[in-house]
Symmetry: C2
């Protein structure tokens, strides 16, 4: 028990004084007042990361899409629904953060037009729904003058690591957490497995509860922040 208390005290210093911004959950895009286009995401991974970051002593802001989850202790939560709302909330908070962990499953597309009243069925015919692209939150955070450490997620059903590595480079991320979805992993479940990929390293975390994976991710993020600090210091010396 003493060991656990000491470990907890150590963890409580890992991100002391750091501002951590996390996005979590899905985004929903309204088609009309009744219908929407959604992404599958329980938000559990992002909420677990927010909890782990707060335990590690960080000041945590959590931008959450529509989910049914309690706010972790000590975390400041901003609720949003659409990708554009999430974009605005994240960009507003990102100016002053040290790390942005983009765990939300943001919809790439939204309906080109939103109907003010419920669209009525006409006859037996189909319907063609025109979609337009949403803003790229990670790209816009990466373009900020004071760019935080950027951690992305890649949830894929196939070729996960290859897609993740391509996204890491394309979006100039510092770290990407790749996870296979489908077959009982990833969405709307408690267990998950993650592969953490950076330009110079690949770390496979075996299947574990999301809380445990979140702690391991926060450990890696804390290490990266310390390395960055040292690099900056060395550069200025």
């Amino acid at each position: 028990e003493l060991v656990a208390r000491l470990a907890a005290r150590q963890r409580g210093d890992l991100l002391a004084g750091r501002q951590v911004l996390i996005s979590a959950g899905p985004t929903f895009e309204d088609i009309d007042p009744v219908r929407f286009l959604g992404n599958r995401s329980s938000g559990r991974m992002g909420f677990a990361i927010a909890e782990a970051a707060a335990e590690a002593g960080a000041s945590v802001t959590l931008v959450a899409g529509p989910v049914n989850l309690a706010t972790p202790a000590g975390v400041q939560r901003i609720d949003v629904r659409s990708a554009r709302e999430m974009h605005a909330a994240v960009l507003g908070a990102a100016q002053n953060c040290d790390v942005f962990i983009a765990a939300a499953a943001v919809g790439d597309f939204r309906p080109a037009e939103v109907a003010l009243h419920k669209i009525k069925k006409r006859g037996d015919g189909g319907l063609s729904l025109e979609l337009t692209q949403n803003p790229d939150i990670l790209a816009d955070v990466a373009a900020l003058p004071r760019r935080p450490l950027l951690v992305g997620f890649a949830a894929e059903t196939e070729n996960v690591e290859a897609y993740a590595r391509a996204k890491l480079e394309r979006k100039r991320l510092d770290l990407i957490a790749a996870n296979q979805v489908g077959s009982g992993l990833g969405f709307e479940v408690d267990d998950n497995s993650l592969t953490l990929i950076s330009a110079d390293a690949t770390l496979r975390l075996p299947t574990a509860p999301k809380r445990e994976l979140a702690r391991q991710l926060i450990d890696v993020v804390a290490q990266r922040l310390r390395d960055r600090g040292t690099d900056n210091g060395a550069g200025a010396a």
Copy 2:
């Protein structure tokens, strides 16, 4: 307290020996393993009706779309996701029921094709999503040889009573519960107001918790079943 106990005992006889089938919640139609087309519905109204029907002594089957709600005591629950899954579950249970209360917000449309793998963004362009119509659950239950009493719902953002009356006639329902959605009423909230419309009567229930509205709806349904029993008896005599 004696009055409450007597009232509860009376309520417990209202639907004794009756088979009540209720659909509740939204349906979600997968576009690919990550994206889906959804309907806004918390399922609370349908779950409240299932609870009220069980309290009234009925044998209750609840076909539920994707919601985060506990199953009411004594209710048999079947979980589904898409409109076609809901159609199959309802038709399977409807053969032997006395009443079908269609409280689910069933999606009218589903993607014409479901992608087995996550659809990737290509360039900055939009996307056109082709939709096809889902089966009409109420119409197919109405066409059963032993047609149960049919209760529909009409959730509309405008002209609620006119739309509801048209739906009552078009789908040959016995009763329709009309409710205005938007402005803090209807979806994802605890309070609601309903107008119960039949061929010969209109009953406006003022804004109240969904549980209270559910009890009033069950009272009306029980009365309709008794009337139908009497009519049948008179016809045979």
